[in-house]
């Protein structure tokens, strides 16, 4: 049986060899076969989706080289100005480039998977905090409890909101860090690749949901939140806007599927709404706080008008202090604004004022200088020294007169 198999094999090989010897090919056919294989390999390399696939193509390039190296001279003529060797080298180089690109993409894919998991975790945590916040809000609305208990509920509600905003900031920072570090070429590949995203894992959906929740909170506030909360929310939306402006185009291109432009427009519309609500609530809350503390700055609804209002208020107050005889009442005006400026703007709200650019560092510094001038003008001056000086003068004159009469 074994001998029969061996004989059959030898016969098969002989038939194959003799067949090959008889078959006559034209040089033109050799050229065409090489060009066809070359083109096919080139297309396969360009379309390779994994490093394993590229490895297999590299071995096919080696086979192509072996198959045609007997025709090298012919192919050098046929492929002019290229040569057989340069064509093989070009394929090998393209395979190396594709492999390098795929290694980066595979690395980025791992990163994206990790980000996806993080997003899911953020999403669930935010949902949990939302539900806790909502239930606290409901409790506050329906509360018939004592003032102390109510105040405790409000404090818990505000803490819950703060935690929630912190999560949102962490999430947007994770998104930013992940996509910022990606190379330009990787983005192109990711855009072209088929990104199968599970429903709910799409970062665009998460972003849209977070924006809508924030708009909802801002629009339904019934006075429970305070200026500090609005400042923090304003900062969160500023950061969101900033990150979106840097990676939004790429996110929409990667995860927007066939509706890239629609996703982008949708997110940007919502971001616009969020910004308007956050801004309106924040400026109104600062204004209300100042009114409650008897400081009337006039109207303001943005960074520029707020700065101008403070600047104008201090200038007028300084001029008034300069023109009038300074009284304790003038100084109390100064003291009230000074407290607002130092305790609230620079201390309690300082972090958000700077991060949200409610006032820039240059504006704060300029107002600080003006405050010093106002303080100098508003400070009640002591009359004791002039009086003592006058008394001393009168005494000296009296002594001189007495001495003169004696003489």
């Amino acid at each position: 049986m074994k001998r029969l198999l061996t004989s059959t094999f030898i016969l098969f090989v002989l038939a194959l060899v003799s067949g090959t010897a008889v078959a006559q090919t034209s040089d033109y056919q050799v050229k065409q076969q090489f060009e066809r294989s070359y083109d096919e390999l080139k297309v396969s390399i360009a379309g390779a989706l994994s490093v394993d696939e590229v490895d297999s193509l590299v071995s096919q390039i080696s086979n192509l080289k072996l198959e045609f190296e007997n025709h090298e001279e012919l192919l050098d003529h046929a492929l002019y100005p290229e040569t057989f060797s340069s064509s093989i080298k070009e394929l090998q180089q393209e395979a190396r480039n594709t492999e390098h690109k795929l290694l980066i993409i595979e690395g980025q894919d791992e990163k994206l998977t990790k980000l996806s998991d993080e997003l899911a975790s953020y999403r669930s945590e935010i949902a949990h905090l939302n539900s806790r916040t909502e239930s606290l809000r409901a409790m506050i609305t329906d509360s018939e409890k004592s003032e102390r208990e109510l105040s405790d509920l409000v404090q818990r509600y505000r803490n819950s909101m703060e935690q929630r905003d912190e999560f949102v900031l962490n999430m947007i920072d994770s998104l930013f860090v992940t996509y910022r570090d990606m190379e330009g070429s990787t983005f192109t590949e990711l855009k072209e690749g088929d990104r199968s995203i599970k429903a709910g894992d799409n970062p665009l959906e998460v972003i849209l949901a977070v924006i809508e929740e924030n708009i909802q909170i801002l629009k339904t506030d019934d006075g429970t939140l305070q200026t500090e909360d609005f400042l923090r929310m304003y900062v969160v939306q500023s950061r969101f806007n900033e990150v979106w402006s840097q990676i939004g185009d790429d996110l929409a291109a990667i995860y927007g599927g066939n509706n890239t432009l629609q996703w982008k427009a949708n997110v940007e519309d919502k971001l616009g709404d969020w910004k308007a609500s956050a801004s309106k609530n924040m400026w109104a809350s600062i204004d209300e706080y100042l009114e409650q503390n008897n400081v009337n700055l006039g109207a303001f609804d943005n960074n520029e008008s707020f700065y101008e209002a403070i600047d104008s208020f201090i200038s007028k107050a300084t001029d008034a202090s300069r023109d009038k005889v300074v009284t304790n009442e003038n100084y109390a005006d100064f003291q009230r604004f000074y407290d607002f400026w130092n305790t609230k703007i620079k201390s309690d709200w300082g972090k958000f004022v700077q991060e949200g650019e409610v006032l820039t560092m240059a504006q704060i510094s300029s107002i600080d200088t003006e405050m010093m001038t106002w303080r100098d003008e508003a400070k009640p001056r002591s009359f004791m020294i002039p009086i003592l000086f006058g008394l001393s003068l009168i005494t000296i004159v009296g002594l001189i007169i007495v001495l003169a009469r004696k003489n």
Binding site: V22, A23, Q24, T25, S26, D27, Y28, Q29, V30, K31, L74, H77, A78, Y80
Partner: protein, 161 residues
Amino acid sequence: MKSKSFIPILLLASFVVAATACNKFVVENVNYSQQIESVLVPDENGDVHDIRHGITFNIEPFRTQEFGEEDKTTQIQEVRLIRNAEGYYFITASQFKNVYVMEPGKSELKLKNKIKVSEERLAAPALNLRDATVQLVKTDTNEILTLNENGLQENKEEDQS
């Protein structure tokens, strides 16, 4: 007096010798061979262009030669052309019975030889160049004919392809 009459003759002789020398300026051992055949597709006017080797001609005269003036229907899909070391073009195509050996001239290809290579019409011919000679390969029958401008040569047994 006699020597004076020789001077113009000598000058004329020198001029003739110099002129003849100029006319006989020849570079020898030029190898025109084309290593691989060109396969050219005729356009709607029957013109074929070999851009790489710089030749354009019309295939209608070949069609007439092969199929006669009456046959207006047979279309030539591809023309195969190769040039040997001496500079002769060997031209054939599917459905031809002959290989045409054409000598290039001033804006013309002049028939040097018409080599009958098949009683039947060629089904899948190809032209190779081996050791400076042209081979016609009948790829359908694996038959090889060795050609030069004078006609068929004795076939070599082995083929290096």
